[in-house]
Structures are given as structure tokens and as C-alpha cells.
Amino acid sequence: MNERVVPQPVGTAQAPWTGQPIERREDAALLTGTGRFADDLGTRPGTLHAAFARSPYAHAQVRGIDAAAALGMSGVRAVLTGVDVKRWAAPFVVGVKAPMEHWCLAVDKVRYVGEPVAVVVAEDRYLAEDALESIKVDYEPLPAVVDVESAIAPNAPILHEGVASNVVNDRSFAYGDPDAAFASAPRRVRLKVRYPRNSCTPIECFVVVAEHLAGDEGYDVLANFMGPFSLHAVMALALKVPAAKLRLRVPRDSGGSFGVKQAVFAYVVALCLASRKAGAPVKWVEDRLEHLLAATSATGRVATIEAAVQPDGRISALAYDQLDDCGGYLRAPEPATFYRMHGCLTGAYDIRHLKVRNRVVLTNKTPAGLVRGFGGPQVYFALERLMQRIAVELGLDPLDVYRRNFIRAEAFPYEAAAGALIDSGDYHAGLDLAAQQGGLVELLARCAQARAEGRLYGIGYAAIVEPSISNMGYITTLMPAEARARAGPKNGAIASATVGIDLLGSVSVVVASVPQGQGHMTVLAQVVADVFALKPDEIAVNVELDTQKDAWSVASGNYSSRFAGAVAGTVHLAAAKLRAKLAQIAAAQLGCAAAAVMFDGGKVFARDTPDKALPFARVASGAHWAPALLPKGMDPGLRETVFWTPDQLAAPDERDRVNTSAAYGFGFDICAVEIDRDTGRVRIERYVTLHDAGRLLNPALADGQIRGGFAQGLGAALMEEFRYSADGAFLSATFADYLVPTAMEVPEPMILHMETASPFTPLGAKGIGEGSNMSTPVCIANAIADALGAGVDPERIVLPLTPSKILSLLGVPDPVPARSRQAEAHAAPSVDAELAATRPSGSWTRVLRWLGIAQ
């Protein structure tokens, strides 16, 4: 099952382009400033510019909005408010059945700081911002709830009164017989962990250009949206138009997304309505303050995880009790952070008994959504911290605990307890490779030496299963089986691709993958070049998307690491289909069977008569210029569109088992750290990261994905967090407050690969884009926990592990000296109190740190 997939043999002498680390065709434009990002594209003359008025309160009743003064200002053309939104639009559809509404602008209440309450449309952005200050919103502040555990307390302020609770979905699952396994287990190891709210913060923010079309034609939108295109339906329903009347176009280039640009969809709706109100196209470029404050966030989580363990570390059962902090609204695709990982909650381990309780909780914070890793960082922070605790509490070598629990290589495809059909892998070999190539023996010796010298040195590990190509039906796992049966099944992950050949015989590819820097154009040219035995340079690739003209479907977009497995695979299928047609055409001309037609070096020939070769372009162009030459009965045209969905992605079954993804890669990381006792700073001495993502289509791009994910994971581990004060004021609204790693903080990881092909994807490839985001935070945390030693309460290992937090874990003596003149400085007003005091003036917290006042 684990043999490598050989690229389709086409009789070519050329080594396959696929698998080579070739340079990117995207780069020439990007390096010369001629990329086509959303904000670089021309707009129609007369396009207006929008700015959003946003709530300064975490929770308040909106009693009224007075826009008269703003409308009187120079250059201001319209102001859109909740009144308009209620008239023209509908609330967004929500993933759980509960009486709560989320509109694209606040209509009655605001539920987080930064929530949009009005859109000013003016002749330029400067004028629009001038008018923001004149929008008078009458707020009646309400008590806010920020912490997820406080939000589930009986007396907590309620965000959505109709639900009468901040828990908007509560589901329990059991697979196997976990209660019996726990009852009979000789040992139990239990840990409560938290995962913070953070984001991968693309450097390009959201961009939307929206136009309301005359004559009931709907809306035309350009946005740097990234999918999933299931959200197109959410937008169309909110705009109350058929999907065909919401034309959504996505430009060639996007300045990073990492899941985040999924959340632009709510703004698409608001700006369509703003255009309708203003009677002109409207453009909005989100600024950085808006982005950090209100775009989206990874879902915060509080999880209690427990394992039933044998004395040798073998885990017989696992239990999760998880609270997800989804913010002020349950915005699509939430609560998918839970369910994306559901099928593989047992990770890389052969654990037959599993118990899960998932509670979806709302708090007065920015709505959560896709952020690279989506669900993985949260799950693995619990599971892999627990693996370390098992080793510590049972006095075992962590590697032995891994080896005893890993799914065995001969067990693949392995059906996990909750339903993931884990396609392929060799986890034991992966661990051994990482340990050997990563120099683990040497690191352990260094660790022993450092500790003998009294230094704080630690080694951490993390093993992850990296899901890719999400099952679009996984979210329905949250419904009880009977409700699911009533609603009808949802499943699959349809990818689409079009390959065509033009009148001069050149090949072009169109996909609905909306890349944000991953190099899709390069890889697809490699894949198609192999099919036709051409050079990648000869293949044109268009990655723009137009929902009125291109082939797309519910799963289109660039998320769940679906490119290599699903998109590139589907392109391969479309190209192969077109090649088969071409072979038939050529067979007639060459006088041989289609099966004997060979493609090589830009030529087409019969296997037995290579000297009578026809130029590829001539065979291809003939089909356009002389359809009479086509074999009898063949349709004209050289353009094939293929839709593909993996057969393995069925709907959740009656026992709530669900194969959440089509392919599952593997990662094993080793991290060695030293902590400076004086400053609490963490120095990463070595970071080893092994990946098995099936067949690699371009190893250089694969390494790029790993390095980038590692840097983001390191940021999550050590510095990144969206912080709120107790009353919901936002404390991280600038890049001087929300700290992301720079070149000074990110070391080079040692990257190792295995290639165990997936039997379920056309090219044997699996995703590789998210594994390091999943493994790095917990691996660094495990290393730090190891360095800090047994004296530190494991539940206090909470990300981000800032120097200040690490020193407090070390327990530095801090006695108040008797003679201190200002020992009462402790009683100075807290930052929060200051922030609260300044808020009613409308001046947000963002600026205080910038101004140094929050010091």
C-alpha cells in the first residue's frame, strides 16, 4: 500500500518535472512590483471608498445611529447602517440550530470591540475616515464576558438572549467503550490546558470592491477571498440573491492568508449593500488596526484531556472535554475548529476507546474562524502535552511512549476510533529518522551536561497527524444522527480543474485554488508538463477565479492543505483526459492505436515509428482548424474540465464516525531549548521537524511551507496572543502590541522528509501546509516544560510562553523591601482601569501602548 506512485508513463525520456525543486514562475512579477494583488487592480471611474465605524464597547445595546452630520461632510456620499441591512439582507446562516442572529453590521447589539456598526462611503478613504468621527452611535453598555470559563457560569452576561446561554452547542461522543477502559485502567493521566487566541496575520489585509448591478443583476465583487467557496452560498443567502447573481472574482495574487482571508466574506456582504446604498462601486481596504482588532482569530480553547494508561505507557482510552471560545458570533465555518480534527482526535496513536465532549461557547470577543492549522494546534496542544505528562508521571522515556502507541505501519489504511481513515504512513520509521538525523543522542548528552552545570535545558517532542482535504460534511457531525438523517447527507471535497489547448497548440490550466503565495502556478505547470511531455514554461496557468465563468464547487479554495492532494491531482486527471483525446486524434493521423501514441519532447509519434513524429502543436492545433480530421464521433474542442472528490469522504455515519479528511500526513518534531534564568528568555538550540506528506510535487515549495509554518508556530509558542482586558477592551491592535517573530527570533529548523504516497489522491500527494503550525507550539512548550522541571505545575504551561511568564513559573523571589518608598506601587491603577477610563471617549486601546501609556 505504501509504494510510491509513479508518474504516468507517457513514453517520455525526460525525468518528471514533478518532484523537482524548480524556481517559481510567480516570482518574476512579485520581484519587480508587478504582481496583481487586489489593491493593485484598476477600479471603475467613480468608485467610492469605504470606512467602517466600529464599536468601542465589548457588549452594548445600540439605541440609535445618527449619521446626519457625517452625511453633510464634504465628499461623503452614503452611510450604511443596520437599518439598511435589515431591509436588504438576511442574517448569515449559522452552523448550529440556535435562536441567534449575525448580520454584516450590528443591528441591535454589539458583542465585541471592533464590531462594524456603520459604513461611511466617500470619495476617498481620507474623507471617509474624516466622517467616521461624526457618526453618533447611542450605546447602552452592558456587562461583558471575556473568559470562556466565566461565560459558561450560571450568572454570566448572555450574549444572545434567545439562546439563554453562552453555550450554543453541546455534544458528547463515545467511540468504543471508553468508560470501561477508564474503569479498568491501572493509571490515569489528566491535564487541563488552554490554547490562546492568535492569528497568522497576513501582511496584506482584506480588500473588497463591490458593485450593486442595475436591473436585478445582483452584485459583482472583487475580493481577496480564499474560500472555502461553501461560503459563497452564505454570502448569496445573506444578500438574498441566487448564487449566480453574486459574481465573485478573486485576483491572481494574495498577500498571504493562512486561513484568515476566509473571514473577508462578512465584509463582502456589507460592501455590496454599501454599493447599493451609494449607487456606485465601493472599495474597501482593511487597515492593520481593523485587521488585528476585528478580522478573525484562531479559536481559543480550554481542554481537559485524560488518558487511561497501562504501566508501560500504552494508552487504552482517551477523553476530551473541550470548550471553544468562538467570540461574539458563531460565524461560518465555526464551530469547525472542533470538527475538522474530529475523526483523528486519537492522533498518531492506536487508541480504540475515545470519549469527547465539545461545547461551543460565545464570549465578547472577535468572532473566531480559520487560521492555519485550524483545530490542529488546539488538539495537539492537549494531546501532545498529555503524551509528555504520561512519560513524566510513569517515569518512561517519551520515545518509548510514542513507539508503544503509534499506529503500526502494516495497519494502514487505519480506521481511527472516531472515523478517520488514515491512509498511509510509517510512524515508527519517522521517529527513528528524526532521532537519528536530528542528532538526538547528542542533544540528550548536551542536556545532561547543561543540567549538571545547573542550567535550564530541555527537550520536547511532538507527533502529529496532519489532515488534508477536508470532508465538507464533517461539520454535520455536530448534529445528532437523527437530525443528520432528516437533513440529508453532506460529504465530499469536490475539486475542479480545466485544461485546454489553444489554436497554436499551447496548453493552459485554470483552477479554483485561489493561492496566497504557495506557488500553485509553478506546481501545476510541472504536473501538466509531465502529462504532455512538455516543459513547465510552455504551460500557462491561470489562478484567478470568477464564479460566473469558471468551474468551481463547494470545496474550492485554498484551505485544509488541499492543493497538492486534491487540486494538483485533479489537474493531473484533467490533463490526462485531454491527452487521451489528443492520442485518439493523433492515432488517426499516425495510423496506429491510441494506446501506442507517445508524447515526448514536444513531439507525438507512434511507438514503433518514432522517426515519423508530429509536432505536438500541430496535432493539437489541427483539432481547432480542421475538425473534419477528428475521429468519427468525437466532439470538437480541446478543453477538459474534471471534477474530483475522494471516494473515502463519506458523510458521518449513524455512530458519529466521520472520515474528516482524505489524506493524513505525519510529523515528528524534536526541540531542544535553553532558558536564561536571569531573563526567562528561551533560546532554541535545535529544532528538528520530520514530515511525511506523501509524494512531494516540488520539494523547495514543501520546505517553504514547513519553514513558514514553523515560524508561525514559534510565534504562537513564544509571543503571539490577542489580549483583552477583563471588560473586553482589545489590547493587541497594532503590530507593536501583537508581536510576530522577526528574522532575529526564528532559527532555521532542520527539515527531514519521508514520502509515503497516499493511495487516495491522484498523485499520491498529501497536504504539508499546516503540520508545523500544529506541532511547533506544543513541541516548544514540551521542551520548555522539560527545562523547567518537575517543580512546575504542568497546567501553568500556557502559551505564549513569554519571558515574563517563564520567570513567574520559575518562582523568582520578589520580597517587598521594608524601606521601599513606593512599595505601594502595586496598588497603582491597573492598565485595565486606565483603558476602561479612556474608552468612552471612543479612543481605543490600540493607541495606548503605542503612546507608551499602557506601560
Binding site: 515574563s804 520567570l807 501602548r849
Partner: protein, 271 residues
Amino acid sequence: MKPSAFDYVRVDCADEAVEILAEQGDEARILAGGQSLMPMLNMRMAQPKVIVDISRAEDLAAARVDGAALAVRAAVTQATVERRARLADEVPMLAQALPHLGHFQTRNRGTVCGSIAHADPSAELPLCLAVLGGEVVLRSRARRRTLQAEAFFLGALATARDPTEIVEEVRFPLALAAERYGFVEIAMRHGDFAIVGLAVIVSAAAIRVGVSGVADRPWIVRWPRLTGDELDAALDRLAWDVGARDDQHASGEYRRHLVRTLGRRLIEELQ
């Protein structure tokens, strides 16, 4: 994130600048390098009616040794000072501190006087100027006055500058052979504002310690030479006196710890 509207005046000399300030007072803001002011304009935290651009004022363009001080005029960038061939001999404290100040790209444009006038309590240059006992030369249409740094810094972003004055020049005392200088800073990342910055001067008889990032302005103490337990006790008192508080990046406890540990490390290196 766009500035509110203002009139723009680009002056050719300091006289023109103070003339406008005399008319406009606190409705006007001086723009030199803009690395502090421009973010405030973009966020509309500052909404002046007039921006007075002094970046091309020829009489404000030089940094030179003047008597016992390095005199840095208002339009001189941080990079210009950092790249002085003899800075490590002239003002070694600055040579140590400047690389911590933002980044290559911001030092290229940001001015020394602008950072002093902005008076961020976490910033490096106010700390250096204060611990060195430097001076700030303020100029209005009517007069020119010179203040000791410690008298100039009044609080977070608050200084003794009158709205009609420009910070025309700051004067860093040149190094003395009998003194040794040390600067250390802990920030969340390279180039960030300090969580704690420490600047120390040790001479035969005395120790001067400056702390940034904790109080609302550079906090300066003067001690006789101390070692061992006495030094620890003095640092512990300093750590508490400076009034450390929690913020989203670090606790007050952490800041006190840094004052103690970094202070001890630095002073011991210099003694």
C-alpha cells in the same frame, strides 16, 4: 488609518519654524523624521492643524562635538549619529544603545531630537540622555533655554517643552576617561521598545543607574560604589522604587527581576 487634514509648511531654517510655532502654539506639530509622529497622525491620535516640516532646515542638519558634548541638531537622524566614525569614543553609551532603537529602516529617518521630544518612557535615547546628565536646548521666537534632561522629561510623552518651542539641539556629554558606560535592554523582540532598559555609568567613586520601560520617564539614581550584598540591596530598592506594573507583555514582578539581575550583571561588568 489616514491622517486628518492639516496645513503643511516646510521650513528652510529654525527661525521659520519657531515663527510658525509662535503663531500656532499647540495647533502645530514639528515633523522631523516622523517615526513617532507619523503613526500618531495615521491613527489620528494627533490631529494638528499645521505640520511644520523641519527635515530640510539647513541650520538643524549637523551633529558635531561642541566643547564637552556631542551636540545633535533637530534634523539629524539616528543613523547619522550611529554611523559617526568615533561615536564609540565620543559617547559610548549611544554607541551601545542605538542598535536597539527600532530598526535600520526607522533609524534612517527618525531623528535623535524627535525621540527626545516624544519622550516615550520605554525609549532608549531619553534614557541615555538622562543618565548621562545631558541637556536639551529649547528654542522659541523669544528665547533659547537649556534644560537638564532630568528636568525636561516630566512623564509619559510629557516634557517641559512649551508648545511654542522646538527641541533645537540635544547635548550628550562626551565620555570621561574615568567613567565606564554600559547599556542593556530586554525587549520582546529585537528593536522593540524596552520591557526594561538599563544604562549604567561607573566611576571611581560612584554609580549612576538609569532605568527605562518601567516608570513614566527615565528613572535615575546615584549611588556610591557598592558591591556584594549592598549592591543587591540597592538594586532591590531600585526595583521597587521605580514602580513596576503589569502590562500585556510583562509583569511588574518580571520588571523588578530584570532590574535586579541585569543591573547586577551590568554593574559587575563595569566595576
